[in-house]
Amino acid sequence: MHRFANPTRFLRLSKVLLPWSGGGGVLLLVVGLVWGLWFSPADYQQGETVRILYIHVPSAWMGLFAYTVMAGASAVGLIWKHPLADLVAKASAPVGAAFTFVCLVTGALWGKPMWGTYWVWDARLTSMLILLFLYLGYMALVNAFDDPGRGARAGAILALVGFVNVPVIKFSVDWWNTLHQPASVSRVGVPAMALEMLLPLLVMGGAFMFYYVTLLLIRVRSEIAAAKVRAIRLAQGHGA
């Protein structure tokens, strides 16, 4: 891990990785969307509405995954003081917030025809909404200080404190009797889903993951560039 903490090495590596993750993301997204929206069968109960799930479920996964990455990077940044880890945490937050928002919106659009309401205050939905607020709070805190290092450290502590919410979201459908259906993909043994629906869903999951990695790499690269600009400006300011 310490090998990748070097910003120069990261810049080199990410330059090689970016076209692959970007291209792979586009490819998987096209395949997944066409497969999910046209060729996969409609559900016998939900009809065509089930296709919302090909967006909703992967964005929920990525909302949680991005927070986990953020918390992990925050822990690394706090413990080993890797500057790159702080940047990864900071870059992960807006992407994860966007995924969480998409998850909530698509869930509401699916809920209206299926449950008869856009929103219910059950445990899964509420904890996902809290996740969105945690993302927003994190982003506000990181940008609230004049010293970016200070903001990153404060944000890291908040990200770790807020991480208690992630297992609550994951297990909310098991702990509480909710309207939201329990997990059907990650069940031990056979998933409770038809294969012709599961496969496009997994392809979409892969597409979202590639998209996330691509955005993360771009954002971290731009953060590094911004830090360089800041350093040059400061040096010029002191020189003058």
């Binding site: 706090l78 509420t126 607020f133 805190l141 200070r150 404060a154």
Partner: protein, 221 residues
């Protein structure tokens, strides 16, 4: 242990000498709750239905308002630097400060809550549960709030930011606090929610001071 007692004594002294702070928070709590009958109308069954939620939400907001007092003054006049340098674990000092904060805000809120619940037509069984739930829940509010208050030290627009950070983390306390009261109000056993509130307290007492200490260290660094 002596350090905790010293910190509590000092903060209580300071709070008593400028007693207006603590009273203002209490005044906010009372006034804000009293606004609801004006806004919603005086029908007893409507007020009774919302009483638990209103008292809890307002207690949350009142606790939030008092948080900037927790570290801000000590941070500005440099006391916090000295406290952090003291040969005592910073977590102990924080625990003392949080205890003092609870004694000057949580406890007064707890004391007037039954009065306000009565104004909102809450029944007797609900009132007992409300007291029990608030006794367990308000220390958690102070503990979680300490993390937020330490994080925003030195930030721009710290007050607004603080509410953005702390309120999402307060939601579990609110959910289970209200659940306990409503269960009792409907004649059910609210013990499960009280146990969860107790569990939240048990988890917050060791964990929140750790996070607060980390936040204070990076604020003072």
């Amino acid at each position: 242990m002596r350090a905790i007692v010293h910190v509590i004594r000092r903060d209580l002294h300071l709070a008593l000498r400028q007693g207006a702070d603590s009273l203002m928070v209490l005044g906010f709590f009372v006034l804000a709750v009293v606004l609801f009958p004006f806004g919603i109308g005086p029908e007893p069954h409507v007020l009774e239905r919302i009483s638990a939620g209103v008292v809890w939400v307002m207690a949350l907001l009142a606790a939030l308002l008092s948080l900037d007092r927790l570290f801000q003054g000590d941070y500005e006049d440099g006391t916090l630097d000295l406290l952090a340098l003291a040969p005592v674990p910073l977590t102990w000092i924080i625990l003392g400060k949080v205890a003092a904060h609870w004694l000057t805000t949580g406890l007064p809120l707890l004391a007037v809550a039954p009065l306000l619940a009565m104004l909102l037509q809450m029944k007797g069984e609900g009132m007992v549960s409300l007291m029990a739930a608030m006794a367990l829940g308000t220390p958690v509010l102070s503990l979680i709030g300490a993390v937020g208050a330490a994080l925003v030290l030195g930030a721009r627009r710290g007050g607004v930011l603080l509410s953005l950070l702390v309120l999402p983390l307060y939601i579990p306390v609110l959910v289970f606090g209200v659940a306990a009261v409503e269960a009792a109000g409907m004649g059910l056993d609210g013990g499960g929610s009280l146990l969860i509130l107790g569990a939240l307290l048990c988890a917050a007492v060791p964990l929140c001071p750790l996070a607060t200490a980390a936040a204070l260290r990076q604020a003072l660094a």
